[in-house]
């Protein structure tokens, strides 16, 4: 039963030159968007190590948003192409792990597209809200408990068998 007070938690990685600046512009323009996204600034989306995304999800994020410059506009020539390549690989991995596609999103947002920051964030928050909580920390705890009880029952069985042999 989902918690009625649950709110999506989204971690965002924005590149310094385009998307972070666009988010600043959204602020200066006083656009209003959902408060569920918390931005971590990196110099380039190319710095987004897939581990950051996995770590965020593992620590309880319900979604991860990555923002970079449009293809061809990267401040560092082609960092965003590297991001794109890595992202596509990671998506397949996440898919196999059963993490829905809409939870992890890569967007190209240029410095002038404040309106787009608002649009993407609102859209993503709504999508993740529909999906419900990912809650990996709780799942990890559940799995750990399951593993422990499985192991416990195996050990139990082994003991029983040992007793039978003994007898």
């Amino acid at each position: 039963m989902p918690d009625p007070n649950w709110q999506p938690r989204i971690v965002a990685f924005f590149c310094n030159w385009c998307t972070y600046t666009a988010a600043d512009l959204a602020g200066v323009s006083r656009l209003k968007y959902a408060p569920n996204v918390r931005v971590i600034r990196l110099m380039c989306s190319g710095r987004v190590d897939p581990q950051f995304i996995l770590d965020a999800l593992a620590r309880g994020a319900d979604g991860v948003l990555i923002g970079g410059c449009h293809i061809g506009d990267c401040h560092y020539v082609e960092g965003n192409l590297k991001t794109l390549r890595r992202f596509q690989m990671l998506k397949r991995l996440l898919h196999d792990l059963g993490i829905e596609d809409q939870r992890v999103r890569l967007e190209w947002i240029s410095a002038s597209e404040g309106e787009r920051v608002k649009m993407v964030i609102n859209e993503m928050v709504e999508q993740v809200r529909t999906l419900g909580p990912l809650n990996l920390p709780k799942r990890f705890a559940d799995w750990d408990r399951e593993m422990t009880s499985l192991e416990e029952s195996i050990r139990e069985k082994e003991r029983e068998e040992a007793e039978v042999v003994h007898a």
Partner: protein, 666 residues
């Protein structure tokens, strides 16, 4: 953890700024400060009205001394705005500036959210992230890189000319690169300038000649920048110099060759007179052109096209030998430290609004066509005439053609109101025609401009408020026979009117250049959604771009009049001078480096670097990074399979701790 300072032994000072009501209006700042005070390592936690003010910065310095702070976190506006301010404050307090971390609770929080509880919760999480992160910060030094003192100015309109002259006068070597065969830009086509009605050529020509004769300015016309590499202080620029088939050094501009051309009369549309006159394949763009050198149009010249011409021009040039059909396109490489982009605008194509009949009715002209007609050096020697040679008895000006219009361009082109009133006064001066101006709003905000509007009203120019619906030659009344009829709802009178006139002038607006996107990519700039080049800050850095050492001036940044273009050009030149005269730039120490012990020598990082900063040390079988070449994007850091590449200011543990922090929901 690898670094000695990652232990729990840090003393953090946390400050949250109210920014007046900008932050405090939405975020409960005292609550955030109270929350931060309880976090591990925080020894001082304060909220203050204006952290960026002198007392605010003094507060940080005092706390560093009194509380022996080893880390500082300020939650206020965007780091892009004030990170440097607070780093300086830390340095003044005796702390290495890179022990500082900034939290953006204004642009990313208070300004974009309305719910106080939610905004406060977000501010707490962002603050938590920075407090966790700052623990891992290390003392860093900025590297100093020398600045090449030469400057490239792209575009030889009035903005480019002024920037080049300012820099040249300051003793700097300037390359002025212009695509057209002459500098002067749009201003050279104008007859008079508003609101003073002084002659455009009289004020522009001396500046153009000054460029030509200036010992510090290298002028390259018929040239385009094709490649830009490097970074602030050290750009390598490749310029394509197109052949003009005339040697610039040898030609004296006597124009005997033009007379001698096998084409006895001009046959091809003259670009400078916007097609209102004809020129020959060998021509000089306009009488005051700089450089005063003829050129040959390779698309039109028989010799260039077919090689079978009598070459009468060669004979006329005689022993000067200035004409050279063997000229080829050249690529020239130059080194500069700063670049000023002043590539200007293009005029709106009036054919895009078919209901105004441009291209259909010969006597519907654009404002720039009328400008050429009123100019005494223009195709009619200053006579305003209809296409059949008659003098118009009535002229109508339609404003906002391709401006303030959702179907074409939303922006106001800023100059058309004044430009049209100037032309209206000139029409009254040259003919005794009745002049009617159809406007939505008259925008005359510049110095002397409102007074000019008053003068126009007093001189009997009629103003009709309303957006013109259409222009037609379909006469419904005898007085409309043989005339163009303007159909407009007069919004002041409150009814639809039909006003017959002889000539209609469309005040076409300004648009970004057709190749603005390519130019933007070339110089690593951004464009706004309209296509104008984006300044770094709309108020505080109007001529800077997001690429250091690249500045913008004039209409490439947005529509503006001549004084504003010149003001921007001067500002851009001053910004470049400030960098040059300092002699060096301090580079953000966010470079990547290798933990040699962990590097397996797999070489996967090497092809990732667009700056070839990573090399392979064959002896050690390890990758090495040249910090001077590294720009700090961090792409290699993310890609290293063994985690042996690290990035200053963006260390893995710093980012992981930030992730943990932003996910803390208090």
């Amino acid at each position: 953890m690898k670094h000695e300072n990652s232990n729990g032994d840090v003393r953090i000072g946390f400050y949250i700024c109210h920014c007046g009501a900008n932050i405090a209006g939405t975020v409960d700042c005292p609550a955030v400060a109270a929350y931060a005070a309880k976090l591990p390592g925080v020894v001082v936690s304060r909220d203050y009205k204006y952290m960026c003010s002198d007392p605010g910065q003094e507060l940080i310095q005092q706390d560093i001394r009194e509380h022996r702070l080893s880390r500082v976190v300020v939650a206020s506006c965007s780091p892009l705005l004030h990170e440097q301010t607070f780093r300086n404050a830390c340095a003044a307090g005796g702390l290495n500036p890179f022990y500082f971390q900034m939290v953006n609770v204004r642009e990313h929080d208070s300004w974009v959210h309305t719910d106080r509880a939610e905004a406060t919760a977000k501010a707490k999480a962002l603050a938590h992230a920075a407090i966790r992160r700052v623990r891992f910060h290390r003392a860093l030094e900025t590297a100093k890189v020398r600045i090449h003192p030469d400057v490239l100015v792209v575009g030889g309109g009035i903005a480019g000319i002024h920037a080049a002259l300012t820099l040249g006068n300051a003793g700097k070597q300037v390359y002025l690169v212009e695509r057209e065969p002459s500098i002067g830009g749009h201003m050279a086509k104008f007859d008079k300038t508003f609101p003073t009605l002084d002659c455009a050529a009289c004020i522009l020509t001396p500046k153009m000649s000054a460029v030509r004769s200036h010992q510090n300015i290298t002028l390259w016309t018929c040239s385009e920048v094709v490649k830009v590499e490097g970074y602030v202080g050290n750009y390598t620029v490749t310029v394509k110099r197109k052949p003009r088939y005339v040697n610039e050094e040898l030609c004296v501009g006597c124009q005997e060759c033009i007379k001698a051309c096998v084409f006895k009369e001009g046959k091809f549309p003259d670009e400078f007179n916007v097609g209102l006159s004809k020129r020959k394949p060998i021509y000089i763009p306009f009488p005051q052109a700089v450089p005063q050198v003829v050129l040959i149009d390779p698309e039109r010249c028989i010799q260039v096209k077919t090689g079978r011409c009598k070459q009468t021009c060669l004979e006329a040039c005689a022993d000067r030998h200035a004409i050279d059909f063997t000229q080829k396109e050249q690529l020239v490489e130059i080194k500069v430290g700063n670049i000023i982009v002043a590539t200007g605008f293009k005029l709106f194509d009036a054919k895009r609004i078919p209901q105004y009949g441009y291209g259909l009715y010969p006597n519907v002209v654009t404002s720039i066509e009328l400008e050429r007609l009123v100019t005494s050096s223009g195709p009619t020697a200053g006579d305003i005439v209809l296409r059949d040679g008659r003098t118009p008895k009535s002229v109508g000006f339609i404003l906002c053609v391709g401006s303030r219009d959702l179907k074409t361009n939303r922006w106001c082109s800023r100059t058309c109101c004044m430009h049209s009133m100037k032309l209206a006064q000139l029409v009254r001066e040259h003919t005794d025609a009745d002049v009617t101006v159809f406007y939505m709003d008259i925008r005359a905000p510049g110095k002397g401009c409102e007074e000019f509007y008053d003068k126009s009203l007093k001189e009997g120019i009629q103003f009709v408020r309303g957006r013109v619906a259409e222009v037609t030659d379909w006469a419904l009344a005898p007085e409309e026979e043989g005339k163009l009829v303007i159909r407009v709802e007069d919004t002041l009178a409150g009814f639809v009117r039909r006003i017959p006139v002889d000539m209609i002038v469309l005040a076409v607006g300004m648009e970004p250049q057709a190749d603005a996107q390519e130019v933007r990519r070339l110089f690593n700039m951004s464009c706004g959604s309209e296509g104008w080049f984006l300044e770094k800050h709309p108020k505080l850095a109007p001529v800077s771009t997001f690429t250091d050492g690249v500045f913008i001036a004039g209409c490439c940044q947005g529509p503006k009049d001549i004084p504003d273009s010149i003001a921007q050009a001067g500002a851009a030149a001053a910004e470049a001078l400030a960098l040059i005269d300092k002699g060096y730039i301090e580079q953000e120490p966010n470079t990547a480096y290798i933990e040699e012990a962990d590097c397996s020598g797999c070489k996967s990082c090497i092809p990732l670097c667009p700056y070839t900063a990573i090399a392979f040390d064959e002896a050690k079988q390890k990758a090495t990074i040249n910090a001077a070449l590294c720009k700090g994007c961090g792409t290699c850091v993310a890609a290293c399979p063994s985690g042996s590449i690290r990035q200053n200011l963006f260390e893995d543990e710093e980012i992981f701790s930030e992730i943990e922090g932003v996910l803390s929901y208090a």
